[in-house]
Amino acid sequence: MTRIILQGRGAIKGIAEGRALVCPETIMGWNGIDAKTGLIIEKGHPLEGACIKGAVLILPGSKGSNGWSMHFHAVKIAQVAPAAMVFTKLDSKAAVASVVLDIPVVTDLEEDPFAFIKTGNWVKVDGNEGIVEITER
């Protein structure tokens, strides 16, 4: 069991942990996530069928419609929200989704998170300190 620590900027405060869902191509909002179940439904997405509930999403940013945040909002209301999120870099849609979800978010990491985090890793996101801690197991 190795433990890796990445330093970044805490965008939303709080500490949470969960299983990583790593999406190097990000997820679409519209037709990307089923609001009621939290399942990834984007056609051809490597994680199609995975559930974001309680997971730690590792994303480069957002894509597609200006409704990106609203789909995460719906997911939150349906109580299938992720536990935390890590962004390579924030764009405005990703930032709004972060505020809406109000879960720990870290961004602007000193190293590329996609080089260190694999789907299934246990990841702890500390939005207070801007730290992402990865446990491979």
Binding site: A11, K36, G61, K63, A74, I77, K89, D91
Partner: protein, 422 residues
């Protein structure tokens, strides 16, 4: 964070609970972004109506729904007054022909109830994703928010106005407190091109420009600002809106320079802010063909649903359809919808275009679109669109083959009931 005295008053509740909640959201949003101050928003298009995404929130209390879903406030706030010029974006139905779409009386009433709330607070019920067709005209350097991704691209790129993609909640909050983070596209120096696309392909038609946008969106990395350069023929607004809508669908850009056409890109050098671009990519005929194959089913399958007008059609685009259909009759198996803005349809009525389309068996509708209302025919054998954006968004929610082609391809298919495009 630096807040002005007015902003502090908004935040401390002196201007009321609604503005306070909105301001709290905007300040938090600014902090997440790392923005140091806010800027003044003077124009907004907002996602108003009884949209399906609201259904996850189980309540009969419309104020409670709006509080949570628009302002992220679990406490009830009353939406009484907007702080700037606001227009509504698409809602899930036509305000008059809703029954034609299969909308129930109950759904209609619910939508009306939502719209009336927004109207009372000062939101014009324009109901469009092409707000610039009815006078939504921010100037260079003017700050706007919008719920429609293609509008971000168009207003930033074409007019030098300033907006980010944000999100529905950020749009509502900004429109109510009149502020948004001074970040991203709101700062002129952030808007320089990073990735140059050298057009080597065809670029004559609206369809070509749709494919161009679709292709650039596909090829573009996250957080990049594309520059269209190379050998293209001069586009007009119709081509630009097809291009930008498709681009925002397959990628995430919010600014797209077109050298010699958009005001911050009179030269390639100006577009890139005098720096070498991070990447230069050609766009070839093969790229466009690949995109076409990606977005459109091939062959000559049966068609029973066709929708035109994404983004909403201008009066000129409506006339082309009316002229094509004049004196003809579409196949009885085909439902042909043409979408535009409520005010533009009024002009089409006056000009007799609406009637020409009706006589041929089609229908001119407003204030929504198939992607937004979602009432697409179950068990359709084939659907056709003249918008790469619409085709791409509809595909995942139907099992029918989806075709994309020019407006003329679609209209010919409406006559024959078979796909007549490539």
């Amino acid at each position: 964070m630096k807040l002005t005295d007015d902003e502090k008053r908004l935040l401390d509740g002196s201007e009321g609970k609604l503005k306070q909640k909105a301001m709290e959201f905007i300040v938090k949003y600014a902090q997440v972004l790392g923005a140091e101050e806010l800027c003044q928003v003077t124009k907004a298009t907002l996602f108003c109506g009884a949209h399906p995404y609201l259904e996850v929130f189980k309540s009969e209390d419309i104020d409670l729904i709006i509080s949570e879903m628009c302002f992220c406030s679990s406490e009830k706030v009353i939406l009484d007054k907007m702080a700037c010029y606001c227009q509504s974006c698409v809602s899930p139905m036509d305000p008059e022909k809703w029954a034609h779409l299969g909308v129930s009386e109950e759904e209609y009433q619910k939508n009306q109830e939502f719209l009336r709330r927004y109207l009372a607070a000062g939101v014009h019920l324009t109901g469009t994703c092409a707000p610039y067709l009815v006078g939504f005209i921010p100037l260079m350097g003017e700050h706007f928010v919008t719920s429609e991704s293609s509008v971000v691209l168009i207003l930033n790129s074409l007019w030098g106005a300033c907006g980010n993609g944000d999100g529905i909640e950020a749009g509502f909050c900004a429109a109510v407190c009149g502020r948004t983070p001074l970040w991203g596209n709101h700062i002129m120096s952030n808007r320089k091109g990073t990735h140059v696309f050298k057009i080597e392909s065809r670029s004559a038609s609206v369809m070509d420009w749709g494919l161009l946008g679709y292709t650039i969106g596909r090829k573009l990395p996250c957080h990049a600002i594309p520059v269209i350069d190379g050998n293209f023929s001069r586009p007009d607004l119709h081509k630009i809106k097809a291009c930008y809508a498709a681009m925002a669908e397959t990628g995430g850009p919010e600014m797209c320079h077109i050298v010699g056409i958009t005001p911050e890109a009179m030269t390639l050098d100006q577009a890139c802010g005098g720096k070498p671009p991070r990447d230069v990519m050609p766009i070839t005929e093969e790229d466009l063909d690949e995109s076409l194959a990606d977005v459109s089913a091939g062959g000559r399958g049966e068609i029973d649903f066709i929708s035109l007008g994404c983004p909403h059609y201008s009066i000129e685009e409506i006339r082309l359809v009316a002229d094509f259909l004049d004196g003809k009759r579409i196949s009885s198996q085909v439902e042909l919808q043409v979408w535009t803005v409520y005010g533009i349809k009024a002009i089409a009525d006056l000009c007799g275009y609406t009637e020409k389309i009706r006589r041929a068996g089609g229908v001119l509708l407003t204030s929504s679109c198939p992607v937004t209302h979602g009432k697409i025919p179950q068990g359709a054998r084939g659907m056709a669109f003249d918008s790469a954006k619409q085709a791409h968004s509809i595909a995942p929610i139907t099992s029918a083959p989806v075709y994309f082609g020019s407006a003329e391809d679609c209209l010919k298919s409406a006559l024959s009931g078979k796909w007549e495009g490539r």
